[in-house]
């Protein structure tokens, strides 16, 4: 029987296999940031172990960093201590680091692909659950905890139990105005926050094939929000074109050898998945979340659900609690929900195409007076490119704030936060209670919906706007 993409990548990385033990898998790329690494480096130091392959390891500063005044010392002492610990650790263990102010600094999941370090068929790990982003290249990429970070630093391997595989096939053409973010929000609403648990999801079908690499990254990024360990898309011409010429992509004969290998990775026709979900692309529309987990999403045209719609008691309580936290009444049209803040950024939607999509909507328009809008590029490189394209001028002319690169309001570890009770439309990936600041209320949206919402002051899609 044939093999799936995930199984092929897995099998190509087995270092040691024995009955009754997890497979020991080799790790091709280990990405590191300041939050989940200090205790891992501490562990190495305590046991006198070196980093086995600093040349397969890359660190960047992203979670804590401020998005203004980056030439000044970080004001918050705790954030500063974490960032400084990363700098000391990288220097001591020989790990390359892109620090604040460097042209390659940025969110770890934006930096890897943009440097061409993330390639098809690789195993990629990082102490961050959104490592699933890199699966867009046909890499097996997943988040790990801090003791696994220490394990990979020390051994460049991880003991892992096989995952199950699930095909998510999105067939057909996406209607105009429907983006990768809407697709993944719809997938999660359909299968639930636990629906992907234990699985590697492989996104397939003509709608996925038709997406750019950046769109595929947005989708794979949020696989974790469906509970999955990883998400993948088979590499194809779109993948190769994206990689060609990037700093760490192979060249010459090595490029040809690589492409030949990458082309062999697609799931075999006679392979079978442990589970399958099929979604009709034509049925999709812009999606927004109304609740406090990413599975609580609906088409923008819908109304806030009622606890009475719940299938069971557990769900009824969950809806009730979400409505209370979100300060929403059942039956309210989603389009009537007013927001205070709009955040465009994160490893889900902080790449250049995302900024272009938001700028496109804002061109010749103004952010509503009642709204604060933050645009935070996913990396310093994305920021530079946006400036070269003049996107920054569009944002600033519309009244939005143009910031430096980092995770920012995606998780509010830096000063960019919601105040208690404040409501946001956010292009990030988590609408958990307090995620964007204690008491903050988050609606997850696409960059285009975020920008339209900023203009209207209520949840809106670009089709709600009159001509600029």
């Amino acid at each position: 029987m044939g093999k799936t993409l995930a199984e092929k990548v897995w099998d190509a990385h087995v270092v040691h296999r024995a009955a009754g033990e997890p497979d020991l898998l080799y790790i091709d790329l280990h990405l590191v940031h300041e939050v989940t690494s200090p205790q891992a480096f501490d562990g190495l130091r305590a046991s006198g172990r070196p980093v086995r392959r600093p040349d397969l390891t890359l660190a960047t500063e992203d979670h804590n960093v401020p998005t203004i005044d980056i030439d000044k010392p970080i004001a918050d002492p705790v954030s500063r201590a974490q960032v400084e610990a990363l700098r000391t650790n990288c220097a001591e263990f020989g790990v390359p680091l892109y620090s604040l102010g460097d042209a390659e600094q940025g969110i770890v999941h934006v930096v890897g692909p943009q440097l061409g370090l993330t390639q098809p068929g690789m195993t990629v790990v990082c102490g961050d659950s959104h490592t699933s982003t890199h699966g867009a290249f046909g890499a097996l990429a997943f988040g790990i905890g801090t003791s696994e970070v220490e394990h990979v630093l020390a051994t460049q391997t991880l003991p892992l139990k096989p995952f199950k595989t699930m095909a998510i096939t999105v067939e057909g053409e996406l209607p105009a105005g429907v983006t990768a973010k809407d697709v993944i929000l719809a997938v999660i609403a359909r299968i639930g926050t636990g629906g992907g648990q234990g699985y590697v999801l492989e996104y397939r079908g003509s709608a996925i094939r038709g997406l750019s690499m950046e769109g595929r990254m947005t989708i794979c990024n949020m696989s974790i929000e469906a509970g999955a360990r990883a998400g993948m898309v088979a590499p194809d011409e779109t993948t190769f074109e994206y990689l060609r010429g990037r700093a760490h992509a192979p060249t010459g004969e090595e490029w040809d050898a690589a492409v030949a290998y990458w082309s062999s990775l697609a799931t075999d026709d006679d392979a079978s998945f442990d589970a399958e979900v099929v979604i009709d692309a034509a049925s999709l529309s812009p999606y927004v979340t109304w609740g406090t987990n990413p599975g609580q999403g609906l088409p923008l045209s819908a109304d806030v659900p009622s606890p009475d719609d719940a299938a069971d008691e557990v769900e009824r309580v969950a809806i009730e609690r979400a409505l209370e936290y979100m300060g929403l009444k059942a039956g309210t049209p989603l389009r009537d929900i007013q927001v205070d803040t709009v955040f465009v950024g994160s490893c889900t939607n902080g790449r250049i195409e995302d900024l272009r999509a938001a700028a496109e909507v804002l061109k010749g328009r103004k952010v509503a007076d009642s709204v604060r809008m933050l645009v935070v590029p996913g990396s310093a490189r994305v920021r530079l490119q946006a400036q070269q394209e003049g996107l920054d001028r569009t944002f600033i002319a519309a009244g939005a704030e143009w910031r430096e690169a980092g995770c920012s309001m995606c998780l509010a570890m830096n000063p960019d936060k919601l105040a208690p009770g404040e409501r946001s439309a956010s292009t990030s990936n988590r609408n958990f209670e307090g995620r964007q600041g204690p008491g903050g209320r988050t609606h997850l949206v696409s960059p285009a919906v975020a920008a339209a919402t900023a203009v209207v002051g209520r949840l809106a899609s670009p089709s709600d706007l009159t001509a600029a």
């Binding site: 939050v35 086995r52 600093p54 636990g194 360990r229």
Partner: protein, 197 residues
């Protein structure tokens, strides 16, 4: 790591589903660079409510947490495991755990034992009726026991072995150092490196 064979203690009922790791320990506590002392961050937002279960004196010494389904979803932060342990928990019982949380637990020495939701409901009723109820989680027998309740729990065989033996992961892997080197020699020439190009 200390060996874990069986544990008996007071159990706290957490009647919530989908307890994500942001609730277990909010992001602000992740800024620390030490490995211990995270007990103050455990369920920090919920603990502000005097009615919250961990604020009830009868559960002050709880060492077993009995939670609803989908415990530990969300961010991969291992601090969630450390916070539970630093607070004094040795075991979490739930009818379903998020994968990463379950993995992190096994590595850190916290037992994440999966039981049927009906067992969770029975335990909730028993503990709420009598908070002093002694609950035993027996890793050797893979069994949860309390007065009138005996139920099996699920735990990964490998995680169970490690917990029983108190073994550290890196040490186990480095027994295969030769195989790792051999694999490195087989890697394709086009595989990228982060230093140089």
């Amino acid at each position: 790591m200390e060996k874990f064979t069986s544990h008996t203690g007071i159990a706290a009922p957490l009647r919530r589903s989908n307890v994500d790791t942001d609730q277990i320990i909010p992001a602000e506590y992740l800024k620390r660079i030490t490995r211990h002392g995270f007990e103050d961050g455990l369920f920090a937002a919920w603990r502000k409510d005097p009615q919250f279960v961990l604020n009830q004196p009868e559960f002050a010494d709880a060492t077993i947490l009995v939670a609803g389904p989908d415990f530990g979803t969300g961010s991969s932060r291992e601090h969630a495991v450390w916070a539970l342990q630093d607070y004094g928990f040795a075991v979490v019982l739930s009818s379903r755990f998020a994968d990463i949380f379950r993995g992190n637990s096994g590595k850190g020495g916290l037992l994440a034992a999966q039981v049927d939701q009906s067992v969770i409901e029975q335990l909730w009723l028993a503990i709420e009726a009598n908070p002093a109820t002694q609950v035993t989680v027996d890793l050797v027998e893979r069994q949860v026991r309390a007065e009138g309740i005996t139920a099996p729990f699920e735990v990964d065989d490998y995680v169970r072995w490690r917990l029983l033996e108190g073994l550290d992961d890196i040490g186990i892997t480095l027994q295969h150092a030769d195989e790792i080197s051999a694999f490195e020699h087989r890697r394709p020439a086009f595989a990228p490196v982060t230093i140089g190009t």
